[in-house]
C-alpha cells in the first residue's frame, strides 16, 4: 500500500510539473502578440508621463504637465465609426450630470490611437463634444490629443489597453482609465449599456472614481462583471424547474395532511 501510494505520489508530481510547464509556456507564448482587442487592468501601476502629444490647436504638450489632478484617460480615434463617439458623448453627458468642476476637480484626456490623425481632426471632434455638454467648461479641461505611433504604443501598453489595426480602422474596447496626478492607475470604469444599446456611465460611479482617484486610492472594477447578462435569451429549462417545484409542492402538502391525519400523538406521549 505504501509503495503504491509512493508511486501515485511520484506520478502525480511529474504530471503536475508537466502541467505547470505547459501553463508557463502557454503564457510565454500568449504574452507575445496574442493580445487582441482587450483591456488588461494594470491597477496600481504607473503610466509613463514623459510622453509628448499634440493637442487640438497643434501645440506640443508633455503629459506630465497635463496630469496635475485626477485625470481620466480615454483611448479612442476621432474618425471612428464605431463606439468611440457614443462613448465620448456619454462622457460629455456625465460631465453635465455631476456637480464636479471639470478643469478644477478633474481633467479628461482623449488620446487618439491612430497616429495618422491630425490636430485638425481632433479640433473638430472637440468642438462637437463640447457642444454636447450642457454647461460651459474650461477649454483645457478636456484635451483631444494626437501623437506618433511609438508614444501611442507605449502609453496604451502601460495602461493595458490592447487594440488591433484592421482594414477600415481599429478593433478596440471602450473604457475610462482614472489616474491620479502621479500617473498611478486607480480605477477602470467600463461603461454599461442601456436597453437602447447606448453607453451609460452612472454619474455617481464617475464622481466616486474621481474623488477616490484624488486620494490615490486604487479601486477594483465591478461594471465588467455586470455586463455579462445583457441581451440574452435562456435556452429554457424553466418549465422543467417549475414542474419540479410544483410536484414538490403537491407532494409536501399531501404528506403533511397525511401526517396530521394519521399521527397518534396522544398515545405516543403518555
Amino acid at each position: 500500500m505504501k509503495k503504491f501510494l509512493g508511486v501515485v505520489f511520484k506520478d502525480s508530481a511529474i504530471l503536475l510539473l508537466v502541467f505547470l510547464l505547459l501553463i508557463v509556456s502557454f503564457n510565454a507564448f500568449a504574452s507575445d502578440d496574442v493580445h487582441q482587442a482587450e483591456v488588461i487592468e494594470h491597477l496600481g501601476k504607473m503610466l509613463p508621463l514623459n510622453l509628448t502629444f499634440t493637442n487640438s490647436v497643434g501645440k506640443k504638450v508633455l503629459l506630465k504637465d497635463l496630469v496635475n489632478k485626477p485625470t481620466i484617460i480615454d483611448f479612442v480615434y476621432y474618425r471612428c465609426t464605431g463606439i468611440c463617439t457614443p462613448l465620448m458623448v456619454e462622457v460629455a453627458e456625465v460631465i453635465g450630470k455631476t456637480d464636479l468642476q471639470p478643469g478644477k476637480d478633474y481633467r479628461i484626456i482623449s488620446i487618439s490611437i491612430n497616429p495618422e490623425e491630425t490636430p485638425k481632426i481632433a479640433a473638430q471632434k472637440k468642438n462637437a463634444m463640447l457642444s454636447v455638454i450642457g454647461k460651459k467648461i474650461p477649454d483645457s479641461s478636456w484635451e483631444f490629443l494626437t501623437g506618433d505611433s511609438a508614444s501611442i504604443a507605449e502609453i496604451t501598453n502601460a495602461a493595458g489597453f490592447y487594440f488591433q489595426k484592421q482594414a477600415n480602422g481599429y478593433l478596440h474596447k471602450g473604457v475610462l482609465i482614472f489616474i491620479d496626478k502621479s500617473g498611478k492607475i486607480c480605477e477602470y470604469v467600463h461603461p454599461g449599456y442601456t436597453t437602447r444599446g447606448d453607453f451609460s456611465i452612472l454619474p455617481s460611479e464617475f464622481k466616486m472614481a474621481v474623488i477616490e482617484t484624488g486620494k490615490g486610492a486604487v479601486t477594483s472594477t465591478i461594471q465588467k462583471v455586470l455586463q455579462t447578462c445583457t441581451n440574452f435569451i435562456p435556452k429554457g429549462k424553466d418549465v422543467l424547474v417549475f414542474a419540479l417545484v410544483f410536484i414538490t409542492g403537491i407532494f409536501t402538502v399531501t404528506t403533511v395532511l397525511f401526517i396530521i391525519k394519521k399521527a397518534n400523538p396522544n398515545k405516543g406521549n403518555s
Binding site: S204, K207, M208, I211, E212, K215, A217, T219, S220, V225, T228, C229, F232, P234, K235, G236, K237, D238, V241, L244, V245, T248, G249, T252, V253, V256, I259, I260, A263, P265, N266, G268, N269, S270
Partner: protein, 553 residues
C-alpha cells in the same frame, strides 16, 4: 380560561422541568431531552449566541461606513461581512427564533397538551439547526472565505465566486429542513392535541399565528431547498439551469429564491405579531378587540404573502402584466397587517394599562412595524420602486420590518415569558432603561437609511460619495447606542436567571391563557391533569363578572 382541577394542582410541589431528573444525567439531560420546554431553551441559547455574532457583524459594517472611503476593511471583507450578517440574522436568527423558542416552550402549554406531537422530531430539528449554523461558522474559518454574494445568493455571481458558497448553501438547505420539521410538528400539535373544550376559536392568538406560520414553513421552504440544491449542482456540474453562459436563466433563480424568501418575511413577522397579540390584552386587562379578525388576518397574510414575490424583481425584468399583478397583490397584503395594528390599538383603548417592559416593547413593535410596513407600500408601487431598487431605502425598510418587528417582538416575548420559564424576575428598572436605549438607538441607526436611500446611496457598497457622510455618521453613532442597549438588556436578563427575585405565583402578569395557570416554572409534562377549557383566552371582563357571581352564590 379557568379550570378547577388546575387551581388545586399548582399548590403542590412537583419538580419543575428544570429540576426534573430523567434517565440521562448532566448535560445529556438537556442534549437528549425530548421535553419541548428544554428544547425551547436549547434553541434560545443557540439563537442568542448567533444573534451576538450577527450584531457584531452589523456593528462592524456600520463602523466601516463611518467614512466615505473605507474605514476598517477592504471591499472583499466588507462583502463577506454583509453576507454573513444577512445569512445569520435571516436564516439562523429571525426565521426560527420565535416559533423555535417560544412556540416550542408555550404552544403545548397554551393548548393544554403535554408536549408537541413529535417530541423526537423536535429534538432532531434542533440538531439540524445546530449543524446548519456550524456549517456557516465553518465557512468563515476555512480557506476560501465566507460567501460574499449577499444573503440572496444571486446568480451568476453565486456560481462564479471562489468563496465557500457550497458550505453556506448547504447550511441554508439544512436549516430549511429544521424549519419544515418544526412547522410540521406545530401543525400536527394544533390539529390533534388541543385540550378538551379548546375549540379553534378558543386558541390563544399566538397559537393561531404559529399555525399560519407553520403552513408557510411547510409549503415554501422546500422551494428554497431545491433552488439552493440546484445552485450547488450548477457550481459543481455546470448543468446550465441558472448560469447564462451555459444557457441557463438567472431570472429563474430570482423567481425561485423569492418564492420562498418573500413568504419567509411572513414566517419572520407573523409569530412576532402573535406575541404582541398576547401581550397587549394582558397589560391593558382587556379582551382583545376583534379576535377572529386577528386570527384570520394571520391566515390571510400567509395566503397573500405567498403570492407577491415578484415585487423583489420589478427592476430585473418581467412582463408589464406580471409587474402590475405583483404590485397589486403587494398592496393587498397590507390590509391584514393593518387590521392587526388597528385591533391592537383598539384593545388598548380604555384599558387599565400597566406600562411594564413587555408592553413597552409591544408598543415599540407597533410603531416601528408601522414605519416598516408603510415604507414597504412605497416600494410596492411600481414606478417608485424602480427608483428605490438597491438603495439604502430597502435596507432601512427591511431593518424596520425584521428588526423593528421580529427583533423587538422577540425582546417583548423575552420580557413577558422569561420569568415564567425560569421562575425569576429581571430588574424592571434596568429593563426599561435598556428599552429606551434600544428604541432610540434603533431609530437613530436605521431612520437615516430612508434619507440616504432617497438621496441615491446604493446598498452593499463599502465606499460612498462624501455627500452621504453626515447620515452615515449619524447612523453609526446610533448603532453604538443600540449595541449598548442590547448589551444592557441581555445582561439584565442573564443576571435575572442567577440573581433575580424568585417568583412563586403562577400568574405573574395577570394573563388568562393556560400558561399562566400552570406552575412557575412549569412541571415536566406541564399539567398534572389535562385541563378542560371553558372560556376563550382573553375574557377579562367576563371573568370579573363570574367571580362576582360566585361570591354572591
Amino acid at each position: 380560561m379557568s379550570s378547577d382541577t388546575l387551581a388545586i394542582s399548582h399548590n403542590g410541589h412537583e419538580p419543575s422541568y428544570l429540576e426534573y431528573e430523567g434517565k440521562h444525567k448532566g448535560i445529556w439531560a438537556w442534549l437528549l431531552s425530548t421535553d419541548h420546554k428544554r428544547i425551547g431553551i436549547l434553541y434560545l441559547i443557540a439563537i442568542i449566541s448567533f444573534f451576538a455574532v450577527g450584531v457584531t457583524l452589523g456593528f462592524l459594517i456600520r463602523l466601516e461606513l463611518l467614512t466615505p472611503q473605507g474605514t476598517i476593511v477592504g471591499p472583499q471583507a466588507y462583502n463577506e461581512f454583509f453576507t454573513l450578517h444577512g445569512v445569520i440574522m435571516i436564516f439562523i436568527v429571525v426565521i426560527p427564533v420565535i416559533p423555535a423558542v417560544f412556540g416550542n416552550f408555550f404552544l403545548p402549554i397554551m393548548l393544554g397538551a403535554k408536549d408537541v406531537a413529535f417530541p423526537r422530531l423536535n429534538l432532531l430539528s434542533w440538531y439540524l439547526y445546530i449543524i446548519g449554523g456550524t456549517l456557516i461558522l465553518l465557512s468563515i474559518i476555512l480557506p476560501g472565505g465566507a460567501a460574499d454574494t449577499g444573503w440572496t445568493f444571486y446568480i451568476p455571481y453565486s456560481v462564479r465566486t471562489g468563496t465557500n458558497m457550497i458550505f453556506t448553501l448547504t447550511a441554508v438547505f439544512i436549516l430549511g429542513f429544521s424549519s419544515i420539521l418544526t412547522g410540521l410538528n406545530f401543525l400536527t400539535t394544533i390539529h390533534r392535541m388541543r385540550a378538551p373544550g379548546m375549540g379553534w376559536f378558543k386558541m390563544p392568538l399566538f397559537a393561531w399565528s404559529l399555525y399560519a406560520t407553520a403552513w408557510i414553513q411547510v409549503i415554501v421552504t422546500p422551494i428554497v431547498g431545491i433552488t439552493l440544491l440546484m445552485v450547488i449542482v450548477e457550481r459543481v456540474f455546470h448543468v446550465g439551469i441558472f448560469d447564462p453562459t451555459l444557457g441557463g436563466d438567472p431570472l429563474l433563480f430570482q423567481h425561485m429564491f423569492w418564492m420562498y424568501s418573500h413568504p419567509a418575511v411572513y414566517i419572520i413577522i407573523v409569530p412576532a405579531m402573535g406575541v404582541i397579540s398576547e401581550i397587549i390584552p394582558v397589560f391593558s386587562q382587556r379582551t382583545i378587540f376583534g379576535y377572529k379578525f386577528i386570527a384570520f388576518s394571520s391566515l390571510a397574510i400567509a395566503l397573500f404573502g405567498s403570492l407577491v414575490w415578484g415585487h423583489h424583481m420589478f427592476a430585473t425584468g418581467m412582463s408589464n402584466t406580471a409587474e402590475f399583478v405583483f404590485s397589486f397583490l403587494t398592496f393587498l397584503v397590507s390590509i391584514p397587517s393593518a387590521i392587526k395594528v388597528f385591533n391592537w390599538t383598539a384593545t388598548l383603548y380604555k384599558g387599565s394599562i400597566k406600562l411594564e417592559a413587555p408592553l413597552l416593547y409591544s408598543l415599540a413593535f407597533i410603531f416601528l412595524f408601522s414605519i416598516g410596513g408603510l415604507t414597504g407600500i412605497i416600494q410596492g408601487a411600481l414606478n417608485v420602486d424602480i427608483y428605490l431598487t438597491d438603495t439604502y431605502f430597502i435596507v432601512g425598510h427591511i431593518h424596520y420590518v425584521v428588526f423593528g418587528g421580529t427583533g423587538i417582538g422577540l425582546f417583548a416575548a423575552l420580557h413577558y415569558w422569561l420569568p415564567k420559564m425560569f421562575g425569576r424576575m429581571y430588574n424592571k428598572k434596568v429593563a426599561k432603561f435598556a428599552f429606551w436605549n434600544i428604541f432610540i438607538g434603533f431609530n437613530v441607526t436605521y431612520f437615516p437609511f430612508f434619507i440616504l436611500g432617497w438621496m441615491g446611496m446604493p446598498r452593499r457598497s463599502y465606499h460612498y460619495l462624501p455627500q452621504f457622510q453626515l447620515y452615515h455618521v449619524i447612523s453609526t453613532v446610533g448603532s453604538w447606542i443600540l449595541v449598548i442597549g442590547l448589551f444592557i438588556m441581555l445582561f439584565n436578563l442573564l443576571m435575572s436567571l442567577v440573581r433575580g427575585k424568585k417568583i412563586t405565583e403562577n400568574n405573574i402578569w395577570g394573563g388568562e391563557t393556560l400558561e399562566w395557570q400552570v406552575q412557575t416554572p412549569p412541571i415536566t409534562e406541564n399539567f398534572e391533569e389535562i385541563p378542560s377549557v371553558i372560556d376563550g383566552p382573553y375574557e377579562y371582563k367576563q371573568n370579573e363578572l363570574t367571580t362576582v357571581e360566585e361570591e354572591v352564590n
